[in-house]
């Protein structure tokens, strides 16, 4: 029986009268890849911001590894091993790629030497080693997204939340990003992924959670979600429905 690592319990978040998250509950088990999908404005990023401590939810609880992290500050949550990337990438522009990763590596390193070792390993596994001396601000968008993941990886997280790490990438880059996700997962990192690129996440996810207009409308395996009438109506639309049928029949 897998243990839940992250539990979202009845989380509600409001901005004035706007309800961004409405009584959302789900959990992510240790070692899983869970995708969080939904149309624009469904409240995915808001939920991420609540989990990672940028917002304090109006009500509800967020439990990570058995500890209540609701309303804790972001850096405390990162220290516990739950970290995130940003949809709009936030590279430390005036610092080099290596310095970006090193900054993350200091979190659990005893000294600079150890941090450098961690950084080197991370740079190599994420294929950024060649670009380590470039300024982060001068990278391509794909590399910036990769760097987001790399420097979070350097904080040695148990769980990562990726916010649209694949949006705006071309086909090859998406494929590389998928491989990176699977590799992280093999290394024991639990993943919660917000994504629009369905073709990319459906094959790698264990489970999918669907948000629409702030509410959770479905949860299940990718197959269940693809075939869920409500999800199709709310979000995926006829085109993807047809396409997924085709894909399934091919298999």
């Amino acid at each position: 029986m897998p243990r839940p690592l992250l539990e979202i319990q009845n989380v509600t978040m409001k901005f004035g009268n706007l309800v961004a998250n409405d009584d959302v509950s789900f959990s992510v088990n240790e070692g899983e890849i869970v995708s969080l999908i939904g149309p624009n404005g469904a409240g995915k990023t808001t939920l991420f911001n609540c989990i990672s401590g940028f917002y304090k939810p109006v009500s509800g609880k967020i439990i990570f590894d058995g500890k209540d992290i609701t309303g804790k500050s972001t850096h405390e949550i990162t220290l516990l091993g739950l970290t995130r990337t940003f949809q709009i990438v936030k590279p430390l522009k005036e610092m080099t790629v290596k310095e970006n990763v090193l900054t993350g590596a200091f979190l659990h390193a005893k000294n600079k030497k150890e941090a450098e070792q961690i950084a080197q390993k991370v740079l190599q596994t994420t294929h950024l080693w060649e670009k380590k001396d470039m300024l982060a601000g001068s990278l391509t968008i794909a590399d910036k997204k990769r760097l987001e993941i790399a420097r979070m990886l350097a904080t040695r997280p148990r769980m990562m939340m990726l916010d649209e790490a694949m949006a705006g990438l071309n086909r090859t880059e998406v494929k590389e990003a998928m491989e990176l996700c699977l590799m992280l997962n093999r290394d024991g990192i639990t993943l919660l992924i917000v994504e629009h690129v369905m073709e990319a996440i459906m094959p790698i996810s264990n489970r999918v959670v669907v948000l629409s207009a702030g509410k959770k409308i479905a949860e299940g395996s990718p197959e269940q979600i693809i075939n869920n009438e409500e999800v199709i109506k709310a979000y995926l639309g006829e085109r993807y429905y047809a396409k997924s049928r085709q894909a399934n029949s091919r298999i």
Partner: protein
């Protein structure tokens, strides 16, 4: 890195030797002011250049350093060395107290807040009779003594103290820049959110930066007071001091250890010489030229002088790459 270190060693040796070669009193005076302001720039750079929190109020800490030692000496005859340490401590405490409300503000709102804090402290000192208010304090002249930090026969002892303090400020800046704290401060400068997500307690690190920065600034305040032997609130708490520190660091190169040294080496001789040659008329020609030169440098070298070096170095490196 080794190359960088070597350049710093060269600079520090040259700075140490110069006043012994050119024994002209005016030159020695300029060297003292240059080192004081370079050191002030180094300490300001920690909070603004590294951590990206623009302070327009460092005169507050400079003044606290100057007043703490001066009051202790003037009222109780306590050595300025003790005053220097207590001043640094006091400035650290004040900076910690004012930082709490100020750090909630971002960007220009923070900058204006630091300016407001310095102005408030200035006004308080102006109307505080115990410290002689707006009249200021003339430090009682004592025979030359290291313990009392007064030297009248030669400027060399002042120079040596300024030099040691300057080296201390550079070492602190270098140590911060090359270690965890430097990376953390720069991460905060680049993006608050990203820094938090990387597990950095942004408030705490900004506070550390502010405390170190203000303590070192205060030590220079004490030295300045002992060197000039007179202080008043407008002189040590004024916006002029805050802005001079800002200007020379920005001019030299913000966020680099070399910036304040370069900036001070340009700006201080410029202001001292224009004053010496043109200031006697009382017509402000010196400051007029000084202002015009600042404008010209800003317009034609908007990346700071250090940026100029870096770019030529990069160009050199690119050239080497293409020819290789």
């Amino acid at each position: 890195m080794a190359m960088k270190n070597r350049l710093l060693y060269v600079i520090s040796v040259v700075a140490l030797v110069l006043p012994f070669i050119f024994r002209n009193v005016n030159f020695q005076h300029i060297m003292i002011m240059l080192l004081i302001f370079a050191g002030l720039g180094e300490s300001w750079n920690i909070i603004t250049g590294f951590a990206g929190q623009t302070s327009f109020g460092h005169a507050a800490f400079f003044g606290i350093g100057a007043y703490t030692s001066t009051i202790l000496f003037y009222k109780f005859g306590i050595s300025p060395w003790v005053g220097m340490l207590l001043g640094a401590l006091f400035a650290a405490v004040v900076s910690a107290i004012v930082s709490y409300p100020c750090f909630r503000l971002k960007g220009h709102y923070f900058a204006v807040a630091t300016l407001a804090v310095a102005e408030i402290i200035k006004q308080l000192f102006v109307s505080w009779d115990y410290v002689e208010g707006a009249t200021g304090i003339s430090i009682p002249v004592k025979p030359d003594s290291f313990w009392m930090m007064q030297f009248h026969r030669s400027k060399i002892p002042y120079f040596l103290i300024a030099y040691v303090l300057f080296i201390v400020s550079v070492v602190i800046a270098v140590l911060i820049e090359r270690n965890k704290m430097g990376y953390y401060l720069k991460a905060i400068r680049e993006s608050h959110e990203a820094a938090e997500a990387l597990g950095i307690n942004t408030t705490r690190y900004k506070l550390y930066a502010m405390i170190v920065s203000s303590a070192v600034t205060a030590m220079f305040g004490t030295l300045y007071a002992q060197y000039i032997l007179y202080i008043d609130p407008f002189m040590v708490f004024g916006l002029d001091i805050s802005m001079k520190i800002v200007l020379l660091t920005v001019l030299g190169g913000l966020g680099t250890v070399y910036g304040p040294i370069i900036g001070s080496a340009i700006l201080i001789p410029l202001s001292e010489y224009t004053r010496a040659f043109l200031g006697g008329t009382g017509k402000g020609i010196d400051l007029m030229i000084y202002g015009a030169l600042i404008v010209i440098v800003a317009c034609f070298e908007p990346r700071g002088v250090f940026g100029l070096f870096q770019r030529s170095k990069k160009r050199g490196a690119q050239y080497a790459k293409t020819t290789a």
